[in-house]
């Protein structure tokens, strides 16, 4: 392997890859939300609807998952026990968040607010779905990380750092989207 000869301070590709990935995802959501702002300003048909209160609970769940991942990361770095369990807690909270988002969709659908009902509902569904898809990607990355932690003698710190960065970014991204949706929708 190349890494054998490299200096210990050398950058880790997984970290660089995640930073580049975050840049790309930032651009994607910047495009989505600037489309929202332009569409809201340009069309006379923008309607407001009440966001499901469940979103607040989902936000708390997602923030808690980031906390759980921080606990996992610190334990894994110190090779302390319980790291893997906290990874599982993170994944469970992540899945709970996605389930909560689906429940919020169903609540809206029950009120008759669907994707094509109006531009505000269209953006609501598109943004939450895109974020959820990216979050599920994070859940699979966590699953992969958990599998690697279980197999390797030393914890894969590069992958751990990369997944943690990505997961916290998903948190921040949701907060951004939540604010945008709360203000515009």
């Amino acid at each position: 392997m190349m890494s054998a000869q490299r200096a210990p301070t050398a950058p880790i590709p997984a970290q660089t890859g995640v930073v580049a990935g975050i840049a790309a995802i930032t651009m994607t959501f910047a495009a989505f939300t600037s489309a929202l702002v332009m569409r809201k300003g340009g069309g006379a048909d923008w309607t407001h609807f009440r966001l499901p209160p469940l979103l607040l609970a989902n936000t708390v769940v997602l923030l808690a998952s980031s906390g759980a991942l921080e606990v996992a990361r610190r334990r894994l770095r110190r090779a302390a026990p319980g790291g893997v369990r906290w990874l599982s807690v993170t994944m469970a909270l992540g899945l709970l968040f996605v389930a909560g988002q689906v429940a919020a969709w169903r609540a809206l659908a029950a009120q008759g607010v669907f994707l094509a009902t109006g531009p505000s509902s269209a953006f609501f569904y598109v943004l939450t779905a895109a974020h959820g898809a990216h979050l599920l990607g994070g859940v699979s990355a966590l699953a992969y990380l958990r599998y690697r932690v279980g197999r390797a003698a030393a914890p894969p710190l590069g992958a751990l750092g990369a997944v943690t960065t990505y997961w916290h970014f998903m948190d921040g991204l949701w907060l951004y989207l939540f604010v945008i949706l709360a203000v515009c929708v």
């Binding site: 190349m2 050398a10 994607t28 959501f29 489309a35 269209a122």
Partner: protein, 575 residues
Amino acid sequence: MTFLRRYVFSLDHKVIGKQYLGLALLAVCTGMVLSWLMRLHLGWPNAAVPGLGTVSPNGAPGGVMTPEYYLSLMTMHGTIMVFFVLTTAPFAGFGNFLLPIQVGAEDMAFPRFNMMSFWVTFLAFVVLVSAFFVHDGPPISGWTAYAPLSAVGKDAGPGQGTGQILWAVSIALFCVGQLLGALNFIATTLDLRTKGMSLARLPYATWAWFITSVIGLIAFSVLLPACILLILDQVAGTSFFVPAGLVISDRLQPHAGGSPLLWQHLFWFFGHPEVYIAILPGFGIVSHILPAVARKPLLGPRVFIACLVAIGFLSYMVWGHHMFLSGMNPFSATLFSVPTLIITIPATVATLLWIGTLYGSKLRFSTAALFCLGFISVFVSGGLSGFFLAQPAVDVYLHGTYFVVGHFHFVMGVAAMFGIFAGTYFWFPKMFGRMMNETLGKWHFVGTFIGVYCVFMPMHYLGLEGDVRRYSAFTDEYMKGSLPLHRFITVAALFTGACQLLFLYNLVHSRFRGPLAPANPWEATSLEWSTASPPPHDNFGGQPPTVYHGPNEYGVAGRSGDYIMQASSEADPAA
């Protein structure tokens, strides 16, 4: 390793690079045949093309194509060429094969992503081409797929239903594939450089691929959400891009309130950087090859890198110059016009650096060298007309005409193709371990060079005369005066296409029968020439090289050879 693992689902960046180049070759042949059909119709609007009526009884009854069928060919030609040729070949193809070797790495940073990148791109191509085989045929809305006609389905014309959906899905997939590739290029360049390979010692081609991948990372991640919104407008009844009260084909569209301009903004925010995704690898390839054939260091290497960075940065501020006619606020046209003029400065500086490098050199006239010279020539010819188009007042007249067709075919189409040709003749020995035939190569260059000038130069005059882009025939009283020139262009296009047979023959013949290539046939300096031709599976046979020099050590006096390789530990006698 099984056959599948080694040649199909390979993780080796060299195989993936060749797969990308193979895909681009398939795509360019498809795109070129489409352009011949269009050209034949433009030259002889009433003549039947033998066989076309059988292939497409709806689009070309009796072999004479309908205007809609012409538009569908135009759409597919543009989409295939821009995405699957000009992006895949110079960036993903050559970049994949060469970037890891040039930085001294065993492979890309994420080989699995790399494999996915190719296969997702391949799937995107299959999805796009499948539009030929659906009931209504391919979409007719051009490679830019302007809303609202691209968003309302069948009412907007043949191909605007299923065909347009396939188009949008294909482009969305393509974005995913290229994003995975860009991630790999960035991480590999930053993190997998071998000992001694500082950023300042990176070869110019690597710099260009790196900057292109940063541009691509930002551009494709904006086109992807745009395509998703377009697909939703088509299939889910949303109204992102379709305005209220729109009547198409006598039917009031059920959508309301959307903004067609929004699509143009999102598309061109990607679309203009895409032009640089196509051309910057050509910049890199030319700057990589020119010193080796001129036996002189590239003039102003740091200035050249600064030009690449400046072009990359400015490419994000000029997208509105595609929209001067869109009904956008005229004041913002000025806003976009200024950076458009500014971006010509780094492009001109880079061109002057190449010419300065050539000045006083004893050029080795290999085929690769000729195509580099051709690149500079067509880039300047096409770039000059860009000055006119950058002025909103002039562009209002010219934008809808053949002037623009001539402009962009020169400056991004043919120039990027010449970069691809130069790269092929230069790196073929490294890729396949055999030399290409130089005599055939030179005939290929001469024919192609004359051919493309005969095709695209007259288009500027057609545009000044007022010949409108996207018209399928110029037969009415007012326009039929341009028919002879259209016929000349058609003949030139067929001639240029025929010259490519020389290239295809040369490729196939040299692949199997060419003389065996030494490790460094061009006496070049970068790391790919330090390893065998073709390189072993891990590129350097288990011994990653150490780098002592920059890539620019040509024309070194005071020793037997006139160059020092990057991996040579010998000191520069001049230093």
